[in-house]
Symmetry: C2
């Protein structure tokens, strides 16, 4: 990839777990990402958006997705969770806002609007570059892409999949923030990045976006897994709001609730193969 | 377990990834360990000894072993790599000696001999306690135990398996330090923990121990996986020395060399299922 530097790569299940760095046009910062490249032909690209405080390494290290990705011929792209290295005052003072907490949207408010452009970064810059790299044939229709994410990244997966119809072949989420406009994490982020006018928030709220659809946007179905021992479930996640919105527009939703599971990567590892299978059906 | 405090547990592949803490009689310190408990009956206990700088969490987070362990009914014990929290001067100044670098032996030299008693800690204290906990029936013959490890922990697995005949049903290693008496990591550790008299070192050197056997100690075979792109292979690991020693005493050894693999956990994750299968044969 032109202008992209390969920081490291590690043999993994017959393929390569790579880490890259590049100067981003959209964020104005140096950005890193992980890319798992399976052995043999690449059938599809799966994008994983991580949660608060995570980096481009978290999913690659903790989720154990490479085993099945190798078998299924799926590449897996794991972007970072925000710009880093700007000189914005207070950018790293909170764990749930600023660095590590980009919420996968383009901020409209100073001082964030210049760099915190994660939606444009992903959709206009990183994803096209990685798709082109993987398919190797510029100009032909792109490699099919699936989108998934965890917690804040689940919010990112659901909202980007709804804001960019036709761009993703499949979508799923793990313990996603489903109604950010009404939970503390989301309200803090939206107030800071989008400003106090709450009418602008609905366009970045998965449940509100789904409720506004004229018809089911993903007729093959959306998969969500949620632990019932998740310490953030009651206050922050609201899967029932997304469930209601899906039902109202006829969007098929498989919402699997797990009695003992918490919010962490031991849960993610336990269900990741099911998510890869969900995406492989659409990407195959 | 009496006197053991459960620090946390996480639902994982139908079982539980637990982390425990206890006051160790042998090390005189507070020690932590990880324990994966599979769903259903426990058929065997697999002990994983980690490498330099690792903690009781590293394997649980990075190796992805729980999926197959759950299917095979294996519990997995992951001890810490040294005592921590003593007031020995310089204990944490080097990454390859002292804290995080216990080398799974009992030090004989001051100031280490009081606390750096990892062999006694594992063999006399932790392992019996965990075995008793898992089988739940005090007094009956113990649950079968397999032993594996990586790098410094591979040294630990091979040497403890040879120093305690009959204690382990199976043994394997990943990129182990096979001849510590002749590599920089091992010579530094042995000089510090065992003193300058090199005649005492052979009892903790896997290749020397194997060469001294009257007959094959593990007739069902030992498995080792080694990456050929491992940055420590040439200087530190010497698998060929262990291979020669095994051949000399008729010890069956499956030494699998992987062209592209490095020393890290992406390699471990790629081969961990094969190691679990190796142990399950003996523990089943």
């Amino acid at each position: 990839m032109d202008g992209f530097a390969l920081l490291s790569q590690h043999a993994c299940f017959g393929g390569w777990q790579q880490f890259w760095q590049h100067a981003s046009r959209e964020t104005g910062t140096s950005m890193r990402f992980g890319l798992y490249r399976p052995p043999g032909p690449v059938r599809g690209l799966l994008v994983y958006l991580a949660g608060l405080t995570c980096t481009e390494e978290t999913f690659a290290i903790k989720a154990g997705a490479q085993r099945r990705a190798a078998e299924l011929g799926l590449a897996v792209l794991s972007p970072d969770t925000s710009p880093r290295g700007t000189d914005i005052a207070g950018q790293a003072e909170a764990w749930d806002f600023g660095v590590g907490a980009g919420f996968y949207l383009d901020a409209t408010q100073a001082p964030w609007a210049t760099n915190w452009r994660m939606e444009s970064y992903l959709m206009r810059e990183l994803l096209p570059a990685v798709q082109a790299e993987l398919q190797g044939v510029p100009g032909v229709p792109g490699l099919p892409v699936g989108l998934m994410g965890h917690s804040m990244g689940g919010h990112g997966a659901l909202t980007l999949a709804l804001r960019h119809p036709g761009r993703f072949a499949s979508v799923s989420a793990l313990a996603p923030i489903c109604a950010p406009a009404r939970c503390p994490w989301g309200r803090k982020a939206f107030a800071g990045y989008l400003g106090p006018d709450e009418s602008t928030w609905a366009a970045h709220d998965a449940s509100a976006l789904m409720a506004s659809q004229a018809q089911a946007p993903y007729p093959r179905g959306i998969r969500i897994d949620q632990g019932l021992a998740d310490q953030f479930l009651a206050e922050q996640l609201h899967p029932e709001a997304f469930e209601v919105a899906c039902a109202a527009v006829g969007q098929p939703l498989t919402l699997v609730r797990h009695a003992d599971a918490d919010h962490g990567y031991y849960f993610i590892a336990s269900v990741i193969d099911a998510h890869l299978a969900h995406h492989a059906q659409a990407l195959g």
